[in-house]
Point group: C2
Chain length 429, copies 2
């Protein structure tokens, strides 16, 4: 049965995924001559760059997540459907969802990417990913529960299992989580857990390559490394994790580390759907698109954001899978749809790299701008401002700002609640 959406006579664009790419496109087309249907499995947009602060008890999920219906409250032209997309039928121009099928005139795939465990089932089963607010909350609960449990353990080795934490992947997420954990160890643990010797806590950051933040400049990598080392993080470069059984992490060189918590931030892979032709897929499960974000070999099907792979002289492996590219592709595609509607010429996408940044801890961040690199307090404040202004909603901005000021002044992330989900029997039928 078709999903219950009124026919308004306008051509329908179905957007799958309300991340940076899909949401930007939907907002830009909200008042256009198209009917917009945004399908997402969640009822909210999530602000990925701050997941690590949710995991580290610095922010609440609601501060960095925003309900789609609230964003589009005054746009009767945009229809939201909270549903899982199971298949695409490009021949019949249909998207099949858990709630029925949906016809489209144009389809935009903006499903982003998920954690890549590189086919290792053990790691997938035991590691903690960081690609959703739910996963971030799960990590928060695990960290706090394990500190509680460690207090009841008399054996030194067994205690290490609970208090040591290993992060795999030296990109922005890995660096930010490692820095935040190191600060929690330094500023929070001694007060919250006076019975625990914080010197016993080891935080490892493992990176298979020879430097951290490999998407950034060498200066940024060096600064991040020395910052983390100053904070007491054990940074391990040039080592590859090969397996994990929930207790021991095994490395390619034969060494191993004992820990109950392996945070996996080592790579991402495109969220593909059944029905899109295999030969559109390239490295990293991305969909090959032309300069107009049209998926190769298909008609009226577009891909934008992390899932899109657009050949480009400057980017051998495709554009970086970051928010800026997603937003700009959403913007460009919205202009092209408007051009299409008016019979005007479309514009090829061209990425305007405004720079990149990562934060390591209090007063510590690294920023690469087209004009050069800088670090320290000014970089940190710039990081805060850029992220604060990127968060959707005035109230969210205010609440994040209060939390940041509070955490900065008190040296404390205060949202250390272990809220376990309630399960009604019914749900387990």
């Amino acid at each position: 049965m078709p999903v219950n959406i009124p026919e308004t006579g306008k051509k329908r664009i179905v957007i799958i995924g309300g991340g940076f790419a899909g949401l930007t496109l939907a907002r830009k087309l909200a008042r256009s001559n198209y009917q917009i249907v945004l399908v997402d499995k969640n009822n909210f947009h999530q602000f990925q760059p701050l997941f690590y602060q949710v995991a580290m008890a610095g922010l609440e999920p609601s501060s960095i997540a925003f309900p789609f219906r609230k964003i589009f409250q005054r746009h009767k032209n945009v229809f939201i459907r909270v549903s899982e997309v199971t298949e695409v039928d490009t021949a019949q121009k249909r998207v099949i969802t858990a709630h029925g099928y949906l016809n489209y005139d144009y389809l935009v795939v903006a499903m982003g990417a998920d954690t890549n465990f590189f086919g290792n089932e053990n790691i997938a089963k035991h590691a903690i990913p960081m690609k959703s607010v739910s996963e971030a909350l799960f990590l928060r609960n695990e960290v706090l529960e394990d500190y509680e449990t460690s207090l009841t353990i008399r054996d030194y080795d067994e205690r290490q299992l609970y208090i040591d934490i290993v992060i795999v992947g030296g990109g922005a997420t890995g660096v930010e989580v490692a820095g935040a954990l190191a600060e929690m160890k330094k500023y929070v643990i001694p007060h919250d857990y006076p019975e625990l010797d914080e010197e016993e806590i080891d935080i490892y950051l493992i990176q298979s390559g020879d430097r951290l933040l490999k998407g950034m400049s060498q200066k940024a990598s060096d600064a991040a490394l020395s910052c983390l080392q100053n904070l007491g993080v054990k940074v391990v470069l040039n080592k590859r994790v090969t397996d994990y059984d929930g207790e021991y992490i095994y490395m390619k060189d034969g060494s191993k580390i004992l820990t109950k918590k392996l945070i996996w931030a080592a790579g991402i892979t495109g969220n593909t759907i059944k029905g899109l032709p295999e030969d559109s897929l390239v490295r990293g499960n991305r969909l090959k698109v032309n300069k107009y974000n049209e998926v190769e070999g298909l008609e009226d099907v577009y891909a934008i954001g992390d899932i899109a792979f657009m050949p480009d002289e400057k980017y051998e492996y495709g554009h970086p899978q970051v928010a800026q590219v997603a937003i700009q592709q959403g913007q460009n595609l919205s202009k092209n749809f408007k051009a299409l509607d008016k019979g005007k010429e479309r514009k090829a996408f061209s990425y305007n790299d405004k720079g990149s940044m990562a934060t390591i801890g209090r007063n510590q961040a690294v920023v690469d701008l087209p004009k050069g690199f800088f670090k320290g307090s000014i970089a940190w404040v710039l990081w805060l401002i850029v992220h604060l202004f990127s968060i959707i909603g005035v109230k969210n901005k205010i609440i994040v700002f209060i939390n940041w000021i509070w955490n900065y002044v008190t040296y404390d992330q205060s949202l250390r609640l272990i809220i376990r989900p309630f399960k009604r029997d019914k749900k387990e039928d």
Copy 2:
């Protein structure tokens, strides 16, 4: 094995439960001549009077929950153990927890009360309780998910299943939830779900007795009734719910209502533990205590708060199970412990009833004070102030205040996020 807690030479008071009663006692004794061990299954205190606002997407759990470790950061004399208490062994003076046993010199049972389904397993299985932040979040998710689902349903009757909501129990929680749902229907649904006809949504409040808020004055009951009716709530008095199969609610008089969501706020029952003698238990699973809150027939075992039943001329069925009684019993018991330590005389508990209040909606509340009853805007502002000042933590106060102002000005509870828990495979082993 004993739980790992240092012997400090002081006599040890073990408090089970960190609700209003247990937390008050622990705080008052934090600098005393006793060693305090607070055992709770959660790592935070929850502010019960505002659960309904969490359920109604007006507040985040973190605004009304506060980590015990943060409260006692500067009190080395207070030890927190996050664990489930499975049994009490009064002969050996031991509490048995999931993490080992714990010896006590004095035991204080402050485990409060949980939802009472009056033995009906069907209702227990299918209804939604409201006695924890987890349950409140569950209700929030259910309400929002069902609105989403209803958009995909073309059949009128089937749609009612998803959008109608029934609340059973006309106490403060029932009245507050009904009022908040009615306001959501009036102010939020038309904007968030323009495709849904809000007139189709029915909100029922069912009360077995002949008036709402039976713990308050007749004037308060009357005012609450007319307020709710003005908001469009279908208040049903003198009807008893006998069964619920997850779709139909069956009433004693043979009538039934179709709904997927039955919110059960019809009664509470004491949280008892194995090991306490059966004959200490009275009506409502409460522990019979003397004027010093000592459990009858036991030595060095006390009970305070909702779980305590203290015979009293003024309160035939025991003191009301509300925050004020719990707090005052915690305070009185702390003084008695200090008196005991100094060889002074103890003081019998006497309840100072400062009044009671309930809120129904915007500018609508009812307040019973010893000096009289009042309602309307002033009552509502008083309700806000009293609750705001009762919340623990300055930052929480600020954030709740901002949320309230925001919601008041925008006619909107904006935290409408359906955040489903992440489950790692490991957890399901």
